[in-house]
Amino acid sequence: MGASDAAPRIGIYVCHCGGNISDVVDCAAVVQAAADFPHVAVAREHSFMCSDAAQTVIIDDIRNLGLNRVVVASCSPSLHATTFRSTCERGGLNPYLYEHANIREQVSWVHGGQHASATAKAVRLVRAAAAKVALLTAERPIEAPVRRHALVVGGGVAGLCAAGNLAEAGVDVTLVERSPFLGGHATELGKLARIHVTGREVTAALAHVVLADPHVRVLTNAEVVRIGGHLGDFEATVRVRPRGIRGPVEPDRLRAAIDACPEEVVGKVGHGTRTHKALYLLYDGCLPAVAAIDFDRCTRCGRCVEILGRDAVDLDEPAREETVQVGGVVVATGFEQYEPYVDEFGWGKPGVVTLPQLIQILHETGDAKTLTIAGRTVRNLVMIHCVGSRQIDGVHQIPEGRTLNPQCSRMCCTAAIYNSTELRARFADLRVYQLVRDVRTYGRHHEQCYQRASEQRLLFFKYPDHEPPVVSDGLPSDDAPLAVTVQDQFTRGQTVRLPADAVVLVTGMAPGGAATLIEQLKLAVGADGFLREVHPKLRPVELAVQGVMVAGTAQSPMAIEESTAAAAAAAVKAAKLLTRETLSLDPQVARVDPARCEGTGRCVEQCAYGGALQVVERTESGRTVRRAEVNEALCKGCGACVAVCPHNAIDVVGSTLAQLYASVDALTAQEVA
């Protein structure tokens, strides 16, 4: 690596960006000016500095002209600074002896037509970069150890899939699931479009893999209550609620114990349609196949103990906390099922149910020849799409304390239409009316599902965004308890009135379930309330906190196939980081000069990244002193600490005060000649 102590020999390279820059900035004039800056050995221009040919020029100059500093004036550093640092490295120069000047976003793109002043500004920016680069020092990446262990939060399809893939890649996994059973919402979806098997079968396939893998530790009935740390070394505290049942018990005895349990619990899934006992299995075949006791409702009457015995039941099992140390985190906390508010599309009236409830009712209907909802045989069923999705401020009257859901939930069109085709296939006399805003059966083979619905003579009505359908009580002449009116854009915008025995609200996905992680790991959240990835197209499963990935519907509404795809991607990204012995971290972080630091702790107060700075006591020359200490893995190099230090004892590597002063002086100096 080139020594940074030698007298600076700077190479300056000005990019045309194929006209993006050179149409506005006189690049030749910038090069001419740059050639006269102090320490500049060579200045050149090129139509595309990022091209292989231009990079080769830099490498040759480093070798042939003995350059020990490089400046490229081109686009934004976020686009290509890394490119040119690696160019320097390939030429044998320490990559941190590089400085970037942005003369595209900061000059040509914002000063179109002002050639003279734009050129003058470009000259100043290049001069500032040259002044700074002369003072840069050679640095090396910080090496940090990595725990080959991932925490997966959430045991739905995304979490299960991520955990299975991580284990397969050789990473130990701790999977934390809030409920006593694995599978999440997918277990409540009934048969799934395209594959025609149930969500329970799909989740079971994923869960069996995870439960059988010795590298995966599954904690159900558990929640992350505290979490902190950084890439390579996170620590989470998991609170595990008591299950009450110690292991699988003989099915007949378990059935007898459940029958004996006197406490009925209204389940959360399906907005209260499903009930179970305080001692319960979520459904036959649920995983883990160990019953659980809902201690919020258990009265500890002891009847189950009488049947199952004290070896199997522990009514006094305490909640416990355990600490998990991992190298990375996969957030797979899923979504909250949207719950309509009172009176929203008739919600609260008998016969008005949500799509998840309808699926539950269908499941319970078994082989019956007719569909019964709220005690009534259903002949006319109206489905209203986009309930709780694509909400518009002013059109949808959101109650206090709730937020608008502007997003399309993406899976509900297909789910509603697919289930309607099942209804038509099972109940010959049932008329099904679909009230849609648009039909977004966007996925692979979903269009065929939509076509099949048309073949089965489902009727579609298109309501305007600003005029949602109205659900009211039926008239005596209707012979139906409900009636829905819709401004149907398919029928010349006329008002169509549909008497209905039941109305199904096609509810979508709302964000929720990741509050602790968002708060403690400082995860970015989009305006829609879902987790925000680093880049929606280039880095779709990484969160801005290094080492934390997102999988599935915590990020956005997704269908199951999209959730598992995202989970597999998140697992690959996490495995890439966690299967290394050590991590290379950016050395451009805060550095304390112990000779100047007096341990005031002002820097710690300003630090935006918890744990990146702390004041420690240490012994120096026989006396105890207080000194600020940087955790290089947590520090992002933002510089807030530098600004408040009363003793100039702290600096950010690569942007020290001295370097910045030189840069500012060069920027503001009177124009030479």
Binding site: S454, Q456, Q494, T495, V496
Partner: protein, 384 residues
């Protein structure tokens, strides 16, 4: 504001009577955009299908009888909705309650009385062939030549059938005419919605073909060809049906017809809907034209799958349209715009509609309407 309620017994019944598939429509409106009616007046095909889905009255009841069944909508529908079938079922249902339009009524009574739409006496069916005429099919010939009723009884346009017969003779094709007991193929009653009458006409021909031992039937009109090919098999009519242009194409290829005499015309060809879009015959007519010595052939911008209907199909032949709403006039203008002096076609309806358009537009001195058989006969000469 009026509030409407669907009345689904109606679509149930439409589905029963041949309109199955009407629910496939997702109301994109491609049909409305492409319908030739949109060139002359507002005409909402999408709305008609929607009315059928919900059992509502069609916005403008006359629209139901305007459809010419040209098939442009069906050929381009992304969901392959059988729109023509739906319209046909709706016509049947409307007729069963409110009756047919006047002109259709008279066409129907002629069908019932004479077995053809033109009140033509059955014994005069083969009068076009002159005296002593041509042999009638008796089972000894290869082909039964079935000439469309419209050609049989239109005394002003006997040329196409006569030219066809002379070409067949010239090529040495063994054929006999359908006897005077033959009736209309049924297309006009079929398209206007009377499935029952269509079937009764069809079965009469099927019985006749069987009685005569006809195995190969040559149709002079695409409408007859379409009926023989698609409808008759359901009634036991297992004949090999062909439109004459495909046979002429084969005869030319086999060198059994040798066009040698110059045909000094600039010709543009109009694809009949029931030959082109309904049966996919696009190339044989063009190959035939290419064989005419010295003829210059030009295409109209709308050709093949996009051909603009003459307005004669779907019962349009029997209805009176205001001058501004006649597709034949638009189509003739398209032909004139190519600079052609000859508009060729291969359908009795198209032939009649365009001859009428030439008169109405007063362009007799600029363009002639001829049948492909007539053009080929010109190139062959009267005798071999």
């Amino acid at each position: 504001m009026t509030v409407i309620e669907p009345f689904l017994e109606i679509p149930d019944s439409l589905v029963e009577s041949g309109g199955d598939g009407l629910n496939l429509c997702y109301q994109c409106g491609t049909c409305t955009a492409l319908c030739p009616w949109s060139l002359v007046r507002p005409f909402n095909v999408r709305g008609i299908v929607r009315s059928a889905q919900l059992g509502l009255d069609v916005e403008d009841g006359e629209d139901l009888w305007r459809c010419v069944t040209c098939g442009t909508c069906v050929a381009n529908c992304p969901r392959e909705v059988p729109i023509i079938n739906v319209v046909r079922s709706m016509r049947a249902m409307t007729a069963s309650s409110g009756g047919y339009p006047m002109t259709i009524r008279s066409m129907r009574s002629s069908q019932q009385q004479y077995g053809n739409p033109w009140q033509g006496p059955p014994e005069a069916r083969n009068a076009w062939a002159g005296t002593p005429g041509l042999p009638v099919f008796d089972g000894s010939q290869e082909w039964l030549l079935y000439v469309c009723c419209t050609s049989c009884y239109d005394v002003a346009a006997r040329g196409p059938a006569q030219a066809l017969a002379s070409l067949l003779s010239a090529a040495g094709v063994s054929f006999g005419l359908a006897p005077a007991t033959a009736v209309c193929c049924g297309c006009s009653v079929r398209e206007t919605g009377d499935a029952e009458l269509t079937e009764s006409l069809g079965r009469r021909n099927v019985a006749l073909f069987r009685e005569l031992g006809a195995r190969k039937v040559l149709a002079s009109s695409p409408h007859c060809f379409n009926a023989f090919r698609k409808d008759y098999p359901a009634w036991g009519g297992e004949v090999e049906a062909a439109h004459y242009v495909t046979l002429l194409d084969e005869l030319l290829a086999a060198d059994r017809l040798r066009p040698t005499r110059p045909v000094r015309r600039k010709v543009t060809y109009h694809d009949p809907c029931y030959l082109g879009r309904h049966n996919g015959v696009y190339d044989p007519p063009r190959r035939l034209l290419a064989r005419l010595p010295e003829a210059q052939v030009v295409e109209m911008p709308r050709n093949r799958e996009l051909s603009l209907c003459c307005g004669g199909g779907g019962g349009g032949m029997f209805m009176d349209r205001p001058k501004g709403e006649r597709f034949a006039n638009l189509r003739l203008q398209e032909a004139l715009d190519t600079g052609a002096d000859t508009l060729a076609t291969a359908c009795a309806y198209c032939h009649a509609m365009f001859r009428d358009a030439v008169r109405v537009m007063g362009v007799e001195d600029r363009i002639a309407v001829v049948d492909l058989a007539e053009l080929l006969a010109e190139a062959i000469g009267e005798t071999r």
